[in-house]
Symmetry: C2
Subunit: 183 residues, 2 copies
């Protein structure tokens, strides 16, 4: 079957602000047919799996307006201009939780929705943590942080209480590495 | 810390089509301050972890325009009007792969990005599969399907080749249930 890239004929930006760009792309499909595709882009992000010596992970709860719900998630945020994702991860961990880490390891990348959005989040494992300062949150951030065993995270996933793609991806990356304890 | 819901003052839709709605919400933060929040909504989706008797999963590769790349993903699609997510999962498995399943089980839900989008995908585990028809793809779908062992999926995750949030969430849901074999 033909899965060649489509040919872009024209792209019109229909909405743009500092967070997101929405565009309509007129493409030619491999069959030759014309098709208009809605495509979004957002600023890339970075997130942190902070793991302490007791195999506990730093989990946040935050009110998220798009879902009108308080959700479990990881420390993290958007990559600022000139920053690498690792620099973002270090900065967000410090700002949101007050922790610094001596050991950083790349876990992987998760995309919000490859069929709709170019929206990547790069995940890092942070270990050998120490409290360095008090958290300094931005004006629209209302976040709590709590240390939870990895087995607690598994039970919350089984109970259907974890829906954030970044936190589920973090569990997948840790499980693939054999870091989740047996039930 | 206060994580009470924000108070909505006004919401303006700035872009809308059949796939996505983009709105600006003027909210009052718990501090009392005014803030404008970009919020998106898309049609909900459903996806299928089709698992055969050899513990192999049906993985797709599809060209995804927003990333300009061929990505690994699962069978699935958007929920049609009047459909339940389970009905969508059954339909998409049949349309995209030609398979039907006798056993269906809810795995969980993953959200594209709780900080930006109301965009849920409900995942189901489908077992006792049989080929029922040939795949019937929509005009913009160019998809290949392949049976792969769960250990293959883990290795692809470790190699950084899996970025779709649905496929990573599927691995997390299976790992939480103890269904991923040891390395």
């Amino acid at each position: 079957m033909d899965i060649r890239p489509w040919r872009l004929q024209a792209k019109r930006v229909v909405y743009q602000d500092r967070w997101v760009e929405v565009a309509l792309a007129d493409v030619q499909l491999p069959t030759g047919r014309a098709y208009t595709y809605t495509t979004l882009r957002r600023v890339p992000g970075a997130a942190v799996v902070a793991l302490n010596g007791r195999q506990e992970v730093l989990v946040q709860r935050e009110y998220r307006y798009p879902l009108d719900a308080v959700v479990y998630q990881l420390p993290g945020g958007l990559v600022d201009a000139g920053e690498s994702p690792l620099e973002t991860a270090r900065r967000e961990l410090r700002e949101e939780t007050g922790y610094e880490a001596e050991e950083w390891e790349l876990l992987g990348t998760v995309q919000d929705n490859p069929g709709l959005i170019d929206g990547a989040t790069t995940l890092f494992l942070a270990q050998r943590l120490r409290p360095a300062s008090t958290a300094q949150l931005e004006q629209a951030e209302f976040v709590t942080s709590e240390w939870r065993p990895l087995s607690w995270l598994r039970e919350r996933i089984l109970a259907g209480e974890i829906e954030d793609r970044v936190l589920l991806a973090a569990f997948a990356f840790l499980a693939a590495r054999g870091l989740i304890p047996e039930r």
